[in-house]
């Protein structure tokens, strides 16, 4: 309650500052969202959805918010950690929640809008306004409503009809600052009819301050469009990330997403995917590697609102030390959504007796001509496999590493960009070996 009062006061006191520093389209949604957020309050462990995710401690910290949009001295170009060898990407940067204009040359097809959400909303209101805050509005998640209340900037990718972007777009989100910071970020991705694009979003913590990141992504995949969306988190134990991602797929569209957590503190990923047109397909996957006191909650809702769509979920966790993880998956097949095919799978590998794993794979089905299934397994490394590998001369440590790697590769194999897949494998391997996932020439790694 105390934290809620603090932020309520903050919102009231700085309402005019928020108005001054953001596009009018953003500001128009603010009050209604704030009312919803304040009425619901911060999510607590007493609610079913947040039963195992305690935000209380993370919210008790006195964070700074960059409401006046002051520039943060940063050198995003130095972040070689995100460089994907042999994959040429178009790079964009966000520092905390401030879009950072890069001097790197960007080549995009005509009509594509890519960059600061605030600037683009002001310049191309006619194109973007119909999309901003459309998916998020229908959700009752208090953190998403709080994001709308405080949001001032973010990133936008708008691809007009029939445009194909060959080169993947990479957005690097950096946390940097001398003080503890709360960042409120917003992503808006709109793919028109018959388009295709790949977007890679990486979260990095540069300094060791505490961060609270509240992110909302709204993704529209148009008719017959195709989007690959990768998110990777590599922060540290003192970060808290709450990310709400909403996806709406039109007829014949294809969507692929993978969320990887290699290093994090307390992370919550809520994904809500709605099929609005027939014959669309979605592949959702996630790989979470946890150690020490880290925690990740992945909550996925796939809403089959129309017939003839396919969805496939695969979420894997490797838990070490005292880490905790949650998988909450829900497939909703609405009445008349016939010929739906939905698969859902989660698996966890526990390495110590102190880990905690909660899995809730749920199916809610109101149509009969469907093929739906889910599977969930929690266990340890197979002793027989370990024995077999040791027989072949591998050390126990190496054998365990290989088996963990094999477990994880089922998820990384789903990455469609070859160089990114190699890169993820390398990072996962390093992570299992206990090495910092640093790269050659990286100036920020110690």
């Amino acid at each position: 309650m105390e934290a809620l009062d603090t932020y309520r006061r903050l919102f009231g006191n700085y309402r005019s500052v928020l108005r001054m520093n953001s596009a009018p389209q953003m500001d128009a949604c603010r009050d209604e969202a704030a009312a919803r957020w304040l009425q619901a309050g911060f999510p607590s462990t007493r609610s079913e959805a947040y039963r195992h995710f305690d935000l209380q401690e993370a919210l008790s910290i006195d964070y700074g918010m960059n409401l006046y949009r002051l520039g943060v001295p940063a050198h995003p170009g130095d972040v070689f950690r995100c460089d994907v060898p042999s994959l040429s990407t178009q790079l964009f940067f966000i520092v905390n929640d401030l879009y950072y204009p890069s001097k790197r040359p960007v080549q995009l097809p005509e009509g594509v809008l890519c960059g600061s959400l605030d600037a683009m909303l002001r310049e191309h209101a006619d194109l973007l306004q119909p999309y901003y805050h459309q998916l998020c509005r229908q959700d009752d998640d208090a953190m998403a409503a709080m994001n709308t209340a405080f949001c001032q900037d973010g990133f936008v990718l708008y691809v007009p009809d029939h445009v194909v972007i060959d080169k993947p777009i990479q957005l690097i989100q950096m946390f940097q600052g001398e003080i503890d910071i709360m960042a409120t970020r917003r992503l808006l991705v709109v793919l028109g009819q018959g388009t295709s694009a790949s977007l890679i979003v990486c979260d990095h913590a540069i300094t060791s301050s505490r961060y609270f990141s509240n992110q909302v992504a709204e993704i529209f995949v148009g008719k017959d469009a195709s989007l690959s969306y990768y998110e990777m988190e590599m922060t540290h134990d003192k970060t808290c990330r709450v990310a709400n991602t909403y996806i709406r797929q039109e007829e014949g569209s294809r969507f692929l997403t993978q969320m990887s957590g290699l290093e994090n503190g307390l992370t919550r990923n809520n994904i809500t995917l709605t099929f609005a047109g027939r014959h669309a397909s979605a592949s959702l996957s996630g790989l979470t590697l946890l150690s020490r006191n880290q925690q990740t909650d992945n909550h996925v809702l796939v809403d089959h609102a129309v017939p003839d769509c396919q969805s496939d979920q695969l979420y894997k966790y490797v838990l070490d030390d005292e880490s905790r993880a949650v998988f909450g998956g829900r497939v909703l097949v609405r009445p008349d959504a016939q010929r739906t095919e939905a698969r859902q799978s989660s698996a966890s590998l526990c390495s110590t007796e102190r880990v905690q794993m909660w899995a809730q794979p749920q199916l809610e089905i109101y149509a009969d001509d469907v093929k739906c299934g889910h599977g969930s397994a929690t266990g340890q490394i197979d002793e027989n496999a370990l024995f077999y590998m040791r027989q072949r001369g591998l050390s126990e440590e190496e054998a365990r590493m290989f088996l963990k790697f094999a477990f994880a590769s089922q998820v990384t194999d789903r990455i469609e960009l070859g160089p990114l897949q190699d890169r993820m494998r390398m990072l996962v391997g390093k992570r299992f070996r206990g090495e910092l996932a640093k790269c050659i020439d990286c100036k920020i790694c110690p």
Binding site: E48, C350, Q360, I365, A367, C372
Partner: protein
């Protein structure tokens, strides 16, 4: 297959009628509607209960008053007016019972239900001991003499309170305390009758024990309570069946079943639940809100729940296993059939506290008409429970495009040595299987029956022989004649 013919067959298959909906004209003693401390005192007085039991009831009632009706289940439960229910109804002519005689109407009622109450017929019929409960009281318990020779106690709860107060006092509320949940608290306050079973050390109960519950009186709630204690190295198989007449008003059934299993003992608990499910438009039917739990207290103790749920307008029921003993075993096999406007939210909880404990969950849901059928289950592994093994399998079969099948499993794993697996599928009847059957000369109607039966077989096989036959018949009633 053509869509129209498929639809026609499914309609036929799902258009069964409730066979046990008759009302017996038995003179019944009822107390006025309503719930307050006076009513509880009256029930207690009618049953001539000791003071400690009245205190237990009153404590539960006061606690219940602080609670609100749970709404978390995937059920649309209409508002229940707890003051509009009769909490005690008993068939009259209790006295002749002392002399071993029964009201002929009562005997007729149970005969119609296929439950012979006369010892002569019982012996001819085979080795099952029956406790028959109508509305709020147990009307007859058979085979008591044969059982008592082995030291087995099988009697009504009221009798147990009188004859074996120490045992009842020791175990009553030890598995389901009155603070457990809303309906458990209500049951603790107003429970009327039920069965009590005690199997002494090392005894293997030579016959199936069975309780048959019948709601007969109008506007009555049934709140029975069953307590089973299996002492070290003992074994018992216990069966439970239930029916109610067809009435337009819904009736409430909120029971508690408590089971305590000691070292190396085994209890097999089978239920065929066939309360009146309401009519085709969703009018009437029993609200079946039941708390069932077994405490596997002893080392290597075992509980096996098998349930066939075909009746009730609304079912809210999660037979649970608290696997406290090392190497204890919990099993849950369930077939839940919903049709018309029925709603079911049922499943189990496996709470693993002991090391090397194992559990198996097999749940088969069949939804038809406009019904909603949910599986809700919890598998929890406590931090101190090493090498726990669980496997859960939940399948749903949809017959019709207006029904729903839902799966809500929860897995809380707090120990790395656990191996927990869950799998679930939802589909309609496989057309290839139908086609295959057709090819072999089996009509589509028969094939639907075969497939449904085969689908439920894994669970039906776990039922004792006599019950398996009844359960198959029940599936026929619920999903019409082509099955079996």
């Amino acid at each position: 297959m053509k869509q129209s013919s498929e639809k026609h067959i499914i309609e036929e298959v799902t258009a069964g009628e409730y066979k046990y909906g008759f009302v017996s004209d038995i003179e019944t003693e009822v107390i006025p509607k309503g719930l307050n401390e006076e009513v509880i005192r009256l029930i207690s007085a009618k049953k001539q209960e000791p003071g400690w039991l009245l205190d237990f009831r009153l404590k539960a009632f006061r606690y219940w008053q602080t609670l609100t009706m749970p709404r978390w289940a995937h059920l649309d439960i209409p508002e229940i007016d707890f003051q509009d229910i009769v909490y005690y109804a008993a068939p009259r002519k209790e006295h002749p019972r002392q002399a071993g005689e029964l009201d002929p109407d009562l005997v007729k009622t149970f005969d119609r239900l296929g439950i012979p109450l006369q010892e002569r017929e019982m012996l001819a019929g085979g080795g099952t001991a029956v406790d028959a409960v109508m509305d709020s009281v147990s009307v007859k318990t058979t085979q008591q003499e044969a059982l008592s020779k082995l030291g087995i106690i099988f009697c009504s709860m009221s009798e147990a309170v009188r004859e074996h107060p120490d045992l009842v006092k020791q175990y009553l509320g030890s598995v389901v305390p009155y603070r457990d949940n809303f309906f458990a608290a209500l049951n603790c306050a107003v429970f009327s009758d039920g069965s009590f079973v005690y199997i002494p050390k090392g005894v293997r109960c030579p016959m199936e024990l069975s309780t048959y519950f019948r709601i007969n009186a109008l506007n009555t709630g049934q709140f029975e309570r069953t307590l089973i204690v299996a002492d070290d190295d003992s074994y018992v198989s216990y069966l439970e069946g239930c029916t109610a007449p067809i009435r337009d008003n819904s009736q409430l059934h909120a029971a508690i079943v408590e089971i305590v299993v000691h070292d190396r003992a085994e209890v097999k608990y089978s239920t065929v639940q066939n309360w009146y499910p309401g009519d085709k438009n969703g009018r009437g039917g029993i609200y079946n809100f039941v708390t069932k739990r077994c405490l596997c207290k002893g080392v290597a103790s075992k509980i096996s729940w098998t349930q066939v749920e075909t009746g009730s307008a609304i079912t809210w029921k999660y037979p649970s296993c608290v696997l406290a003993g090392d190497r204890s075993v919990g099993e849950f096999y369930s077939v839940a059939v919903t049709n018309n406007h029925q709603q079911a939210d049922t499943g189990t909880k496996m709470i693993h506290l002991g090391s090397d404990s194992r559990s198996t969950i097999v749940s088969k849901g069949i939804s038809a008409g406009k019904s909603q059928n949910s599986y809700r289950g919890l598998v929890r592994v406590a931090p101190g429970a090493a090498r726990v093994r669980n496997h859960s399998q939940c399948d749903s079969l949809l017959l019709g495009d207006r029904c729903g099948a839902h799966t809500f499993p929860y897995m809380d794993i707090n120990n790395e040595t656990a191996v927990v697996e869950h799998e679930a599928t939802t589909s309609k009847i496989n057309e290839e299987q139908l086609f295959y059957c057709n090819q072999r000369g089996i009509s589509t109607e028969e094939a639907v029956g075969l497939i449904v039966n085969g689908y439920a077989k894994e669970v039906l096989n776990k039922l004792p022989m006599e019950f398996a036959v009844e359960a198959q018949k029940l599936l026929q009633v619920s999903l019409e004649g082509s099955i079996g």
